[in-house]
Symmetry: C2
Subunit: 236 residues, 2 copies
Amino acid sequence: MPTTESPSDFIQPMLKGPSAQLFASLSLAIHEHKLLPGTKLGEDELSDIYKVSRTVVRTALQALSHSELVELKRNRGAFVSQPTVREAREVFEARALLEPRTARSAAERMTEEALERLEKHISAEHDALAAGQSGRALRLSGQFHIEISRIADQSTIAGFIERLVARSSLIIALYWKRQSALCEKHAHHALVDALRRGDGADAEELMKSHLLDILSALDLREVAQPAINLKDILGK
Amino acid sequence: MPTTESPSDFIQPMLKGPSAQLFASLSLAIHEHKLLPGTKLGEDELSDIYKVSRTVVRTALQALSHSELVELKRNRGAFVSQPTVREAREVFEARALLEPRTARSAAERMTEEALERLEKHISAEHDALAAGQSGRALRLSGQFHIEISRIADQSTIAGFIERLVARSSLIIALYWKRQSALCEKHAHHALVDALRRGDGADAEELMKSHLLDILSALDLREVAQPAINLKDILGK
DNA sequence: TAAAACTTAATTGTATACAATCTTGTGCGC
DNA sequence: GCGCACAAGATTGTATACAATTAAGTTTTA
């Protein structure tokens, strides 16, 4: 397997085995924008690269499809998903609905151990940025959100948030317009502060504005399709 | 295929083919409580019953696993899921968070066509009850909720609601304590009325109380596990 | 020369064979 | 009769072969 980093933080429908490892590798590559939206993931190609049979590849691709990171097109192949503008809006609307209250809930359940985990996340994120690993930083900032949802200890909603974060990664790959890194530097710090203080209301407000900030950096203008008349353009 | 009714309303990750059909058949059987929580779904057995190869069965089972209707246990097989009491609570908490606002949104977007679809759902539900098909009535009542989420036209949240409704079906199979049918007869009528009037506030309130009603019919007491001393009980 | 028809190659969908793991049954010793 | 070790059988995980479909290339037709 080319990838050595196995993020146990990703949804893993299969418990173990080569298909789980392949799922994790591809998931990581997608989250870190090494595999960009629209990329075709051919079964034989992956089978060659990862030295597993097509069976394993297919299982992993199906799981990625169910994680909504990959779109399977029957008889045509698997492609890294390309969320539409509309879907981008929906995803962030759903995040705005779920994450602030989750942050509040997390604040009410805070432990030293959980705080430590969050701080490690932020630290790792900054390290990745300092090392010029923007993809890794991006993934870690997404996981920061997932970590908060886990602290809130409502696994059904945490599962949804995990999906939304995954989807957001693709949306960001397609629509991000800001030069700087994904999550504004201070936002995560401020969140951790609020969580440390057990201040649910503050955590909730900070998460709201944090999500709005992310959303504001996405270029979600509906691009009017110009009525192209090729004959007029190319005709002589 | 033993089942002729193919509910296009279920999540179908695979677009077509025998695995999609098998997925639909098993999904329907689970939703209608023909396959109960804990039931083992053996690959060879399903392969024999449905006259498809194990490959197709495995694909369908993986999809069912991702729909959270089935739990895959590595090297042990696939089983219809058995949500815990805790998870039951979480699912209904998530439903209480998502569905009322969705009902409000649906009320604001109501069309004659959508109304007609809802009324057909209710009618079919009553027909099933009258015919003593409680499983079918149960599935239809769940789909009524899904239909509302579709009218609300937020596909990300509709997808979550669909998952929650699926999970609810299992929860109901395990924990339902009321003799009567799942959804109180008047509740769906009242909802359709509010939706017809475009009364979002009313729709939201009715959905809230409807979900509370369902929740109240579930026996979610944490069962204290008695410390059973078999020697004392059986010893002479 | 462009479009349509046909052929070939590539890829995905499915079946089947083999390997790995788990469960159940049997035999043996105490 | 019980517990343990081992064997056999059943089932799942994976690899490979074959079938079906799509994409790309080539030839024919107007």
